[in-house]
């Protein structure tokens, strides 16, 4: 399959405000697509439409060939789309381990009654349970979260919380990962780590990633392609270099081009 996610003519209005209008995106497997745009351009709305928190007003979203725009967020998650949030949205009163474990929810194949099977360190665990726990342990290991696995996430440092959120998304074993500003508010060092991890996810797991980020250096470095949107409309899509030089993008970020001439 050479198209993982296909978005055609996606529009979403809030009252009179056009948050998204006519967005088309095609995402190939194992690709990292960076989404940039000024504040309020509609980036997060795009994410919310993809994973079902908003229902688009018009347009089609196909994931692996299947239209998903009418499905609820839980169904979409089951199809293999995971996301993180701009402002950390963790289950603050639960432990790191439990947060990540909840990410495995979609892989719990059993119904509500058989779902009552126990899990826990000391308890009996069926084969399926053991497999889930193994995956979670691997993720914890991968992101270096051993030290905080039994701590309440509400009390963890900001950067670590961001990592836990990523770990939770990974626990879904997603084929498409939506990262909403994974580096916002992080220190330079944490950012650096995050870049490597995202790269790893692409290289080793073959996860396709859609990424919103404001740190341009980071986006440019890690994205295979970049989509720039403004006023809910895509203004440029292509390789980082090309997008960066696109006149509309320059205008969106720096203001009108001709204004520079008299000053220069």
């Amino acid at each position: 399959m050479d198209v993982l996610l296909e978005i055609q003519g996606l529009s979403k209005n809030f009252g009179g405000l056009k948050a998204l209008s006519n967005v088309d995106i095609t995402l190939k497997p194992k690709e990292i697509l960076g989404v940039i745009g000024p504040n309020g351009a509609g980036k997060t709305t795009l994410f919310n439409c993809i994973n079902g928190l908003y229902r688009p007003d018009s347009g089609v979203i196909r994931f692996e060939g299947r239209p998903i725009q009418a499905l609820g967020p839980d169904r979409i998650a089951r199809l293999g789309i995971a996301r993180t949030f701009q402002n950390i949205e963790l289950f603050a009163n639960m432990r790191t381990m439990e947060n990540i474990m909840l990410g495995r929810h979609v892989h719990m194949r059993t119904g509500i009654f058989r779902g009552a099977a126990m899990w826990g360190r000391r308890s009996f665990a069926g084969r399926e349970e053991r497999a889930h726990r193994l995956t979670v342990e691997t993720i914890i290991d991968l992101l270096g979260l051993q030290a905080v696995r039994d701590k309440l996430v509400g009390g963890l440092p900001y950067g670590t919380q961001k990592l836990v959120e990523l770990a939770r998304a990974l626990a879904l074993e997603p084929r498409l990962l939506l990262l909403d500003e994974p580096c916002a508010g992080m220190t330079a060092e944490e950012k650096q780590d995050m870049i490597f991890w995202i790269k790893d996810l692409q290289d080793e797991l073959g996860v396709t990633i859609l990424l919103i980020e404001h740190d341009m250096r980071m986006v440019m470095d890690i994205s295979d392609r970049i989509l720039a949107i403004n006023f809910g409309r895509p203004i440029a899509l292509g390789a980082p270099e090309a997008v960066r030089r696109h006149p509309d993008v320059l205008e969106a970020y720096l203001g009108k081009q001709e204004r520079r001439e008299p000053a220069a």
Binding site: F85, T110, D150
Partner: protein
């Protein structure tokens, strides 16, 4: 032999623990608050009483049936709850309390204000159960429900519930079917309340709608909130404390609602996790006293 008076206290303690747990499941795990749980207790009590009195069904069948009837109404409430914000859900449940009492009071079928009397004492091995046996039955049921709730809490369901409580949208993004799990929480919670109601009916042997008014709902909520929502420990200890303490301090009786009210205010303002909840001053103090259980466990892991 324990005097019957203590049997009575223990039986009421057990009933209160069940009620408190039922709030605990709903509010503590799934984050949905009910201000009308007395209504479900009433439904359970009436179902059980009417089955045994009017239809001569055995208590052992009537009690599960009461739980079932209660759970059915809970299911309905669960469906309604999906549409409501949390504080409006709270006043809807409160309204439900008034409505259920109103129906019991006015529908001739339910014996109106006269209530239902002459409820049979449960039979065991062909003879009437003694008070001691009944207390034992209550204790066994509490143990069973505690075990079941504990089981649920450690299961995927418990995890999903807590996810919903913490952040509904996010849980949904994680693939949790909110509707299904919320409704399930209502069903479990109201079934437990129904069992409590059934136990109450067959202990008092006579019930009227006035027994299940709104003040009782507040008391039930206080039991759970005081102990601390979200864990088994909190609701259970809260219920024990608030049932037994007033027996010791009979002089407090006159100030009972005053005390309950102020307790609710103070706990909610200064100790929203409850007295026995996570990180409350009591739990922390006990932990310190018994030498850092947390620390040891942390190292082992």
């Amino acid at each position: 032999m324990i005097p019957a008076y203590y049997h009575t206290i223990m039986t009421f303690t057990c009933i209160n623990i069940l009620l408190s747990l039922s709030i605990g499941v709903l509010a503590g795990y799934a984050g949905q608050v009910s201000l009308g749980h007395a209504a479900f207790m009433a439904i359970g009590a009436y179902a059980s009483a009417m089955l045994t009195v009017t239809f001569k069904v055995s208590f052992w069948l009537a009690m599960p049936a009461a739980a079932l009837v209660s759970a059915m109404v809970g299911l309905l409430l669960g469906v309604i709850a999906l549409r409501l914000k949390e504080d409006f859900l709270a006043i809807t449940t409160m309204g439900l309390n008034f409505i259920v009492i109103g129906v019991l009071l006015y529908a001739p079928y339910f014996g109106k204000a006269l209530g239902i009397g002459d409820i049979p004492v449960p039979m065991l091995f062909g003879e009437e159960m003694g008070r001691g046996m009944y207390t034992a039955l209550c204790l066994a049921l509490v143990a069973g429900v505690v075990a079941a709730v504990w089981w649920l809490q450690r299961s995927w369901i418990g995890l999903a519930w807590r996810g919903i409580r913490e952040a509904q949208d996010v849980a949904q993004v994680m693939g949790v079917n909110i509707a299904k799990f919320k409704i399930f929480a209502f069903v479990i919670s109201t079934a437990i309340a129904g069992i409590a109601g059934s136990l109450y009916a067959h202990f008092l042997l006579f019930i009227t709608p006035y027994d299940f008014g709104f003040p009782l709902s507040i008391q039930i909520l206080t039991l759970a909130v005081l102990g601390g929502l979200g864990a088994i420990r909190g609701p259970v200890l809260g219920a024990i404390l608030l049932t037994i303490l007033p027996e010791y301090l009979r002089f407090i009786q006159d100030y009972r609602m005053l005390t309950y009210g102020l307790l609710l205010v103070l706990v909610m303002m200064y100790q929203p996790q409850g007295l026995f909840g996570h990180k409350s001053f009591l739990t922390e103090g006990l932990k310190r006293l018994f030498g850092g259980e947390e620390k040891i466990r942390g190292r082992a892991a």
